[in-house]
Amino acid sequence: MRKQILYWISLFAVITMASGSWAADRGRDGELKLLYWQAPSTMMPYLSGGTKELEASSIVIEPLARYDNDGKMWAWLAEEIPTVENGGVSDDFTSITWKIKKGIKWSDGSDLTSSDVVFTYEYCTHPDTGCTQSNYYSDIVSVDALDSHTIQINFTVAKPFPYSAFVGYNAPILQKAQFENCVGAKAQECTEENFHPIGTGPFKVVDFKPNDVVVLEANDLYREEGKPAFSSVLFKGGGDATSAARAVLETGEMHYAWNLQVEPEILNKMAEGGKGTIIAGFGTAVERLMVNFTNPDPALGEDRAEYLGGNNNRNAHPFLSDYAVRRALSLAIDRQILVDAGYGFAGKISCNVLPAPAIYASSANDECKTQNIDEANRLLDEAGWARGSDGVREKDGVRISILYQTSTNSVRQGTQAFVKEMWKAIGVETELRNIDASVFFGGDIGSPDTYQKFYADIEMYTNTFSGTDPEAYMNSWTCKQVARRSNNWGGSNMPRYCNPDYDALAAQMSTTANLDERIRLAKSMNDMLMQDYAMIPLIHRGGVSAFSNIVMGPVGNEWDSELWNIADWHIHK
C-alpha cells in the first residue's frame, strides 16, 4: 500500500515537472545578464537623449508602435498601425487616431488608458521640463482622448508620415499617476520616479544605481502569457567596449553586450572561441565628409565660412566650389580600406547619404564603390589644376590644401590618416585636425571649433535620423537650413549647400503622400546631393553587439531599442 502511494506521488511529481517545462512559464530561465559598457544614468528617456538610457528604459516603458530590425513598424501598445486605408489617418494628413489594446495593465496593477498617452504629450511638451525628445512631439496642435482607449493627434501641418509621437523607444508612454507631479521644472527633482518608472513592459525596475547597474524583475502583469522567459535582468554598465566583448565571447559571464566599438581583428579573434555570436544592425547612420561650399579663410573675419548667397555664392570656397575637385576627392578614396581598418562588422561602404530603409536606397551613385585615382587625376588636370613643384596641385595661385577636421576618436583619426594618403596620390595636400567630441558637437556658439561653425574645408562625422521616414532628414540640406550667423549656426546644412532645384524637390515632398512618389523624391534628393558632391559619404555604420550562444532571441536593431524583443529572449535548450 505504502509503495503504491509512493509510486503515485512520484508519478505525479514527474508529470508536474514535465508539464512545467512543457508549458513555457514566465520567469523559467532565471537571470539574464546584459552588459552596456556605457551605463545608463537615468531610466527616464525624456530627460536624457543618450541611447544607453533609451535602451535601458525600453524594457520597462513602451510606445504605441515599435520598429523591428528591418525598420518595419509594428503595433505595440496600439491595436494596429493607423493608416489612411483603415481610417486611422485623416485624408488630409492632419490627424491620426490610435487605438490602445484593451486590458493592458501597468506593472502596479492599474489600467493603461488614453489619459496616460495624453499626459505623456503634456509632460514632454511643457516648456520647463527640458524634454530631450520634444522633437518627436513637434507640429502637434493637440492630443485628445476620444474615449478611454482612443487618442487623436491633430497636427498643425499635413504630415504624410504621421508616426513620430508615441512611436519608437524615443517616445514611450509614461504613467500619469506616477508622473503627475513631475511636470515642468519639477521633472528634474523627481529622482525616485525617474529612476523607477512604472511601465507596461516585460520587466520592472527593482533597483537602479545611476551609471552602474539596473536590476529588473519580470513583470507579473505583462500582457503576453509565458513571457518574458527570464525572471530577472541584471543590466550592468561601466568599463570599456573591448572587455565587454570579452565578458560575452571569452568568459561567458554575460549574456549580451551592446555597442562593441572594438577593432575588427580583436573582435574576430574573440569570436573564434565559439562562446558567442556577433550581430550587426544597420540603420541610417553614415560617416560622411562634409564639403564646405564657403570660404573658411580666417582673414575674412566675421564672414569666415559664412554663406552670403548672391550670384554663385559670393563667399564661395576657393577650390571646393569647383565640381571637378569635389568629384576627384570622392573618387580618390578607397572606402573598403576604411571599412576594413576601422569598422569591420560595423561598417559597409556607402555611396549614399540615405542608405536605408532599403526602399529609399539609390544605386545611381555606385561609381564611388571603387577607387579611381586615374580618373580623379584626369579630372583635376582637365580642370586646370596643375601640380606644383611640391606635388600639390594649384591654379591661379590657389593651392588645393585641405584642412580636414573631425572629433577625437581613434577610428576617426585612423580614417583621416588613410584619406590623407589617398588624396596625396592626386596632388592634394591635407592638414588633419581633431577636436574633443564635447566641443566639436557641443554647439557652443562662442567656440570656433564646433562642427556647425565649420572653420575648415572638410569635416567628418556621422549623422542619422530616427524613424524610417527621411523627409525631415532630407530637408537638412535646403537653403533655409544653412548654418549661419543669423540662426546662431543652428541650421543643419553644414556644407552651406544651396540649390533651388533641391529646395523645389523638398517642397514637393512635403506635400506628397503617395509612398512610391515619396521614394522617388527622396532618392532624387539623395542623388542630387551625391552627384553635386555636397557630401562625400564614406561608411554606412551599424551597431555591433554580441550575445552568448546559450541565449536565443537577440537580432540587433538600429531603428529602435536593441532590446525591443527582449520578451521573446530565452535560454537555448
Binding site: G49, T129, C131, T251, V439, G443, D444, D449
Partner: protein, 337 residues
C-alpha cells in the same frame, strides 16, 4: 597642540573657499556642454531648452552662489535631518546639488558609491602597507642580498607598469584562461550568507591585488630608504653596544624612527583612496567614486565634477593637517606650540 589645530582649521576655511571658486571658474570656462553628447537628431532649440532647465541660463556668480548655499547649508541640513529624523525649516523646498546626467542629488550618488570604493581601494591600501613595511625592513636590513635584488626588481615593475596593463593581464589569465575569478564586479551583491561572502572575496581579489601591488611597490621603496638612513646612525650603534638583541634594535629602535616619514606619507595618501582608482575601477567595473568622476567629466556633468573635486580638496586639506599632527606626535623633537 589644540591651539595649533584650531589655527590650522581656521586657516583652512579661506583656502577651501578659494579652491572651490577656482574649481568652479575652471569648469565654467572650460569648453564642453552637457548637451554635447546628445545625438545629433536633437535639434538646437531643444538643446537650448535643456540647458535652461539645467540652470545654465543664469550668470556665473549666481550659479556659484547657489552651489555654495547648496553645498554648505542645504546638504549638511539634509544630512542632519536624515540622521536625526527631524525637520529644520522648509526641508521640502530646499534645493540640492543635482547631477545633470542623472538628475539626482550628487551627494546621494557619492554615498551610494563610497562603500565599493572604500572596500576595494581602501583594502588594497591596507594590504599594500602590510606588504610594504616588512618587505622594506628586510630589504634594507639585508641590503644587496638576493632578496633585496628581487624585491627591488619586483617593486620597479610594480612601480612602472601601469594598472591598466596589470589589470588586463590579470583578467586574461585568471578570468579568461583559468576562470577562477569573475571579471565583472557585481555591485548588487549583498554579503548576507557564507556563499555570498565567498563570491565577494572572489570578485575583490583581482582589483585589490592589482592595486595593492602598485601601492606596495611605492611604499616599500620609501620604507627601505628610511630604514637604511637610520641603520648607520649613532643611536643604533649605541643600542647594539648596550648588548640589545638584534631583533630589538631593529624593531624597537630603528623601525620606530624610520616609520616617521612613512606614516606621514601614508596619511597623505589616504585622500587618494576616496578619489578612487579611476583606471582600476573602470577595468573591473567596480563603479566607485573614480568611475563617477570620470563619467561626469566625459558627460560635462559639472555639478558632479565640482562637488567631487571639492570634496577631495577638503580631504586633502584635512589629511595634511592629520599628517602634520601625527608627525609631531611621533617625533618628540617637533613641537608646534
Amino acid at each position: 597642540m589644540v591651539q595649533y589645530i584650531i589655527r590650522r582649521l581656521l586657516a583652512a576655511i579661506p583656502t577651501l573657499l578659494i579652491i572651490s571658486f577656482v574649481i568652479f571658474a575652471i569648469l565654467d570656462l572650460a569648453p564642453g556642454d552637457p548637451t554635447g553628447n546628445l545625438p545629433m537628431t536633437v535639434p538646437p532649440e531643444v538643446r537650448e531648452k535643456i540647458r535652461l532647465s539645467l540652470g545654465l541660463g543664469e550668470p556665473m556668480h549666481i550659479r556659484y552662489y547657489k552651489w555654495l548655499v547648496q553645498f554648505f547649508v542645504n546638504e549638511p541640513l539634509n544630512i542632519i535631518e536624515h540622521s536625526f529624523g527631524i525637520v529644520i525649516g522648509d526641508g521640502e523646498n530646499r534645493t540640492r546639488i543635482l547631477s545633470w546626467a542623472t538628475r539626482s542629488p550628487v551627494i546621494d550618488l557619492i554615498v551610494e558609491r563610497t562603500p565599493q570604493t572604500l572596500w576595494v581601494v581602501g583594502l588594497s591600501y591596507v594590504f599594500g602597507i602590510l606588504m610594504a613595511i616588512p618587505l622594506g625592513i628586510i630589504q634594507a636590513y639585508r641590503q644587496y642580498s638576493l632578496l633585496d635584488q628581487v624585491g627591488t626588481f619586483v617593486a620597479m615593475i610594480g612601480f612602472s607598469v601601469p594598472t591598466f596593463f596589470t589589470g588586463v593581464v590579470a583578467i586574461i589569465i585568471f578570468s579568461v584562461q583559468l576562470k577562477w575569478f569573475p571579471m565583472i564586479y557585481d555591485t548588487t551583491l549583498e554579503v548576507n550568507s557564507w556563499s555570498n561572502f565567498v563570491l565577494q572575496v572572489k570578485q575583490m581579489i583581482m582589483p585589490v591585488t592589482v592595486l595593492a601591488f602598485y601601492q606596495a611597490s611605492q611604499l616599500s621603496r620609501f620604507m627601505r630608504a628610511s630604514i637604511l638612513d637610520n641603520l648607520n646612525l649613532d643611536y643604533v650603534r649605541t643600542a647594539r653596544a648596550k648588548g640589545r638583541q638584534e631583533n630589538a634594535v631593529l624593531i624597537i629602535h630603528v623601525l620606530r624612527n624610520s616609520l616617521i616619514p612613512v606614516v606621514t606619507l601614508i596619511a597623505l595618501g589616504i585622500p587618494s583612496i576616496f578619489g578612487g582608482a579611476i583606471i582600476t575601477e573602470q577595468i573591473f567595473r567596480v563603479n566607485g567614486l573614480g568611475q563617477l568622476l570620470i563619467i561626469a567629466i566625459q558627460g560635462a556633468d559639472i555639478p558632479t565634477v565640482q562637488t567631487l573635486t571639492f570634496l577631495f580638496a577638503v580631504l586633502i586639506v584635512i589629511f595634511n593637517l592629520i599628517a602634520d599632527v601625527l608627525y609631531g606626535m611621533l617625533d618628540p623633537r617637533i613641537r608646534y606650540d
